[in-house]
Amino acid sequence: MNEDPVVQATGAVPDGTGPSPAADALSHAGALLQVRDVRKVYGEGHTEVVAVSDATMAVDEGEFVALLGPSGSGKTTLISIIGGLLSATSGTVRIGDVEVTGMSRRDLTRFRAERVGFVFQSANLVPFLTARENLLYVAGLVKTPRAAAKSRADQLLEELGLIGRAGNLPEQLSGGERQRVAIGRALMNDPDLVLVDEPTAALDTAMGRQVVELLRREIKARGKTGIMVTHDLRMVEYTDRVFEILDGELTHVEEPSTLGH
């Protein structure tokens, strides 16, 4: 599955033979996503908690990478900063030519609508909108003409095998179908970056695999860049590379095939 590795294993790491995250980032100055020395600290003094410590990473256009780590490792904080949902204490995040960390709250809102697609764990869809309306809603945020939006929504739902369920509300869909709708919504505005947060958390293994496989296929087919947060080792085989995060530190970058061995 490692179709398009950006980084080759070049240096010693604590528990294996992967390159250091810093080396990875620095060796790919033209990467679509560049995260440099991002630090996030909550509280101060005795109550200070470092959620992310000087994280540096780079992801090329067309890559689908995993951010792997246990609960409380800082992966959620890091992906939130990358997606413009949370501000960093220090460091920079660039997506293409845009420096996300320097944006105002209002600009970040627009940035998320236009350039980032999100797939969350659960409660992922607007409950009172149908599958098609969930896709059309995000198109409306970027003022896509109605006819074009409808055509794209139907095309995406068709590809995701959901055209027959387009008029159904989320409560009428299975967990897997809901996640597929969320994938469609994430791709609706043709974003640069797709951020996926534990997409299999509410699914059984088989369904989880189907969803992640579909996610990879859609991201790759469109040449998008995807980052999937997961703690499930079984899902990383669908990704090109794996960033491992532990106690706020990006400690490992490895090819998926070497994990778990």
Partner: protein, 362 residues
């Protein structure tokens, strides 16, 4: 795609129940406002509706028209005061009478047609033009008869909001009034008037003219009409009590409406957080909530208005009660404005949403 309207369409039961709950609160506010305003109007409506700028009472009356007694010559004395354009006597007393065949108490007013002190709140017909005619605010119809003592007066006009002391009130010419008083009190050397209604000459100050009347005519005190209405014994306390009652109901209603929408917002925080995360602006979500508040309050107000109309048809308060379009419009507008202000509680919650909470949320 209007998020607010789509949600309301999809959640008909939830928004329907909310609308009914708000409608009941608005109904309570409307009914209390209407009843209190009707009661106050039935107590002071007669004075308020007189076609005059000022009233003159005897100094011993304690600001009460019913207790005031003035000799008929006082009218001419008031008219002679510089600055007074016209003056005319008004008499009033409470008696037993038959209105449209129904015996009961009646407040009688005597006035001079086309002179200061004539009633203005005519809703049908015309004012009496001779001693055989009367206009009534009460349960009567034009063509019916009011019998006072030996006099039978034909009802030629109906008035609204022109009662006094919450009694059916009949307006007749001063000679008819004097005859009614004389029949009941045959020993009277003359029939006193209770007040002198006066208007001031163009360019003259009402306060100054009233002051001049009080000082230059013996044993009288002159008031502007508003002062006279406000001086009716007990009216201040009654108005304040009803004001507190209506005000408290209004405040409680608004707070409850605000809480309704806050609960609705809190229930949808996960959805709002998701929407913020995927790029919806706080302003857009706030507008959606505002639209829902407007739609619910407007629909609820319409239902409440129908309920109020129905209730006023169905209940007998003993006083004439009618919907005043100005009061209703004002009340509904106030409910809407304050509901929107209460909705700021919800909007504050939306503005403070941390969109990053969508990540890692199950």
């Amino acid at each position: 795609m209007g998020l607010a309207t789509v949600e309301m369409r999809r959640a008909k039961l939830r928004f329907g129940l909310l609308t009914i709950a708000v409608a009941l609160l608005v109904f309570l506010i409307l009914l209390l406002t209407t009843l209190s305003s009707a009661l106050i109007s039935s107590l002071v409506g007669a004075l308020k509706g007189l076609d005059t700028q000022g009233l003159v009472y005897s100094t011993s009356s304690q600001d009460n028209i019913a207790a005031s007694r003035l000799a008929p010559e006082t009218v001419a004395a008031v008219a002679a005061v510089p600055g007074v354009a016209a003056a005319s006597g008004i008499g009033t007393f409470t008696t037993s009478a038959s209105i449209s065949g129904v015996e009961g108490d009646l407040q009688a007013f005597g006035f001079t047609p086309d002179a200061p002190g004539a009633p203005t709140a005519l809703s049908a017909g015309r004012l009496p033009a001779n001693e055989a005619e009367v206009a009534v605010d009460g349960d009567a119809a034009i063509g019916d008869v009011v019998v006072i003592g030996s006099q039978s007066l034909e009802i030629v006009g109906l008035l609204r909001g022109a009662q006094f002391n919450a009694l059916p009130t009949a307006y007749m010419t001063l000679p008819a009034y004097e005859r009614a008083v004389t029949e009941i009190n045959p020993g009277l050397p003359f029939v006193p008037v209770n007040a002198v209604a006066f208007t001031v000459a163009e360019g003259a100050s009402l306060a100054e003219v009233a002051g001049a009347v009080s000082t230059s005519v013996v044993d009288v005190k002159a008031y502007s009409l508003d002062e006279a209405v406000a001086s009716i014994p007990g009216i201040d306390s009654i108005s304040q009590s009803f004001g507190i009652l209506v005000g408290l109901t209004f405040i409680i209603g608004i707070v409850v409406i605000g809480f309704f929408f806050l609960i609705l917002t809190v229930q949808k925080m996960r959805t709002f957080t998701l929407l913020r995360a995927i790029g919806s602006s706080s302003g857009g979500l706030a507008r959606a909530v505002t639209l829902q508040i407007v739609v619910v309050v407007v629909l609820a107000s319409a239902v409440a208005l129908l309920l109020t109309l129905g209730a006023l048809q169905g209940i007998n308060t003993g006083i004439p009660v009618s919907i005043d379009p100005v009061t209703v419009t004002g009340t509904i507008a106030a409910v809407l404005i304050f509901s929107l202000l209460a909705g700021l509680l919800s909007i504050r919650r939306i503005v403070r949403i941390d969109p990053s909470a969508a990540v890692g949320s199950r």
